[in-house]
Symmetry: C2
Subunit: 356 residues, 2 copies
């Protein structure tokens, strides 16, 4: 019999998307950026590697927080860097959610929120989205406002995954749980046509919202594991107690600072991805797919005449990996397709043309 | 009023040793290795940085686990890499300790165990060591064996910090809590004259012990944040559910694999440190200090005629940083001095000669 906590022993654990370690795949399944990171990032890593790797990193990530502060015109005390955005999500649970307290999130969305709530021993609730990916605000309020077990954290990925749609600021503010905090997960924020620049944090509800960001997607640095939270310092102060002292390493802090300071590189790549996204959306529709208008670096596609799992498998035999996802409670399934390079998307579309 | 959990709001958080970011310090306060990491590590980082940083790392760290497995002649399924040894300590708490369950550790030792127990909402108990740093085994058994709230995890750093002494295998085995696990924190294991090579895990009590190791100290990679746990796969399997999917990044996995594969570099540096440790110990004793025989890369020194805090401060004005530590419950305080290069130790000894 295992000595693990019962809520650990009984769960499966989160299963990330397939990560084939060999080359040769057209990999459109985990929303990575197909373009390389900035050469300035590579230089920064090389410089740091030749530096003092034998010494601990700056435990409060001063340079990186300053770079993020300058980018969004906020005080660095509002910034908490972490070992990937995932670590900040974990830190949020461990900071704010006691056993039995409620964590809510839209459904379908990022299923990791549920795993993290389980790990922490929190209760969790799926807030079912409408079929057009909008919120049923009345129903949400019924559930988040109640007095017994009110929502402590409401996670809202915006743009949402797997759908790629983006909710407006008014909707976001109306979702803030009266006795808790709203976590605005902006992992895909930079791919929106008009990215959020922390306006919500500077507004009326600024102390009720925690924004999380990652360098994995828009900055082409999924391999680096660096993300950051932005929130009122009263929240950051509590979260900092929970993080490991040296949660970010010397190389990632140097690389991340260089990446943030090379905005043009990121903007050029996200612009390319937005252009390819438009073309992909149009061509999938021509092939008979229904495609949600996306503000992210992926599109959600469904087809009325084909089984999505079969499509996924047929693509896989052609070494094209997309993500087959199913959300039984909403009776939704489909393919989430990352926007790759134009050449990768051509390979995908050629394959789909054969198949459908 | 903060929305943080009460057990977060009321604690201060762990305070790591001072990390001055500017050069010019003789830094003997956080047990870093004064020698640079292997050049093969630097090459591995540079190669990885020029590779596919836009892609997620291998979520199960295959190459690194294989390298560790070869080193200790164990199956890679026994290995769990983490973002520094600290992350594995956190993962252990989150995997095995439910709110109110008991975490025990020797005192004086690494005070982080207590912070981690607080963060998790576990109960904690300090097992007071004898004045000569040995265990009062009878007293320990009274407290770990009891039926109401038995010890779930017993953390034993070996060599111990701040003392630097090392307990023998028989003592370690006799400490295993009857209803829990013993975590053998071997952060300083490679500095022992005869390092442990996982013999305990291969023996009779192998499934009751979890070993944690780090590359921060012996491999001169504190800046990298990479550590690993070694334990029976039944424990590793549960711990893996708790870790973030991509807890180790591409650069640290490449670097760590290269470091493990360049044993000679590590062995040469630890040999140099052991030689300097002998000299430092002898010369501190000549200056009137009592020094514990150390099997780590630091020594614990006390002086009957001087206030330790004052000594620490006087050294600091000379830009020599050591660690002043106090353990009120044991009425113990003193200086923990990292074994630096010979030149650094000469600077320290010259300064002390002036002072005492």
């Amino acid at each position: 019999m295992t000595l693990a906590r019962p809520n650990i022993a009984r769960i499966e654990g989160y299963v990330p998307g397939e990560q084939p370690q060999e080359a040769g795949w057209v990999k459109l399944n985990t929303n990575e950026n197909p373009y390389p990171c900035s050469p300035r990032v590579v230089e920064a890593i090389e410089r740091a590697a030749r530096g003092r790797m034998n010494i601990y990193p700056d435990p409060v990530s001063t340079s990186f927080r300053r770079a993020v502060g300058e980018l969004f015109d906020i005080d660095p005390d509002w910034v908490l860097p972490a070992n990937g955005s995932d670590e900040n999500l974990t830190i949020l649970l461990r900071t704010f959610v006691d056993p039995g307290e409620l964590v809510a999130y839209p459904y379908p969305s990022y299923i990791l929120y549920e795993t993290l709530a389980d790990l922490q021993g929190g209760a969790h609730e799926r807030l079912l989205l409408n079929a057009d990916w909008s919120w049923d605000l009345e129903k949400v309020r019924e559930r988040t406002d109640r007095n017994v077990c009110p929502t402590k954290l409401l996670f809202v990925p915006n743009p949402n995954s797997p759908s790629g749609n983006r909710w407006d600021d008014e909707t976001i503010c109306s979702l803030i749980p009266p006795q808790g905090l709203l976590v605005l997960d902006e992992a895909y924020g930079d791919f929106a046509d008009e990215p959020h620049r922390m306006e919500l944090l500077k507004g009326e509800y600024g102390s009720r919202i925690i924004v999380t960001r990652t360098l994995s997607k828009s900055y082409s640095l999924a391999g680096l594991r660096l993300g950051f939270a932005i929130a009122h310092p009263e929240h950051i102060e509590q979260m900092r107690k929970v993080k490991d002292s040296y949660n970010c390493d010397t190389l990632s802090l140097a690389a991340g600072t260089a990446a943030i300071q090379d905005q043009q590189w990121m903007l050029d790549n996200t612009a390319k991805i937005r252009a390819t996204r438009s073309r992909l959306t149009a061509q999938l529709r021509e092939l008979g797919f229904e495609v949600v208008d996306s503000q992210a670096n992926f599109v959600w596609s469904t087809h009325t005449e084909h089984e999505h799992r079969t499509l996924y498998e047929q693509l896989k035999t052609r070494k094209v990996l997309v993500r087959f996802m199913q959300f039984p409670e909403s009776k939704v399934d489909g393919l989430r397709i990352t926007v790759g390079t134009d050449a990768e998307i051509d390979t995908l579309l050629d394959a789909l043309q054969d198949i459908v």
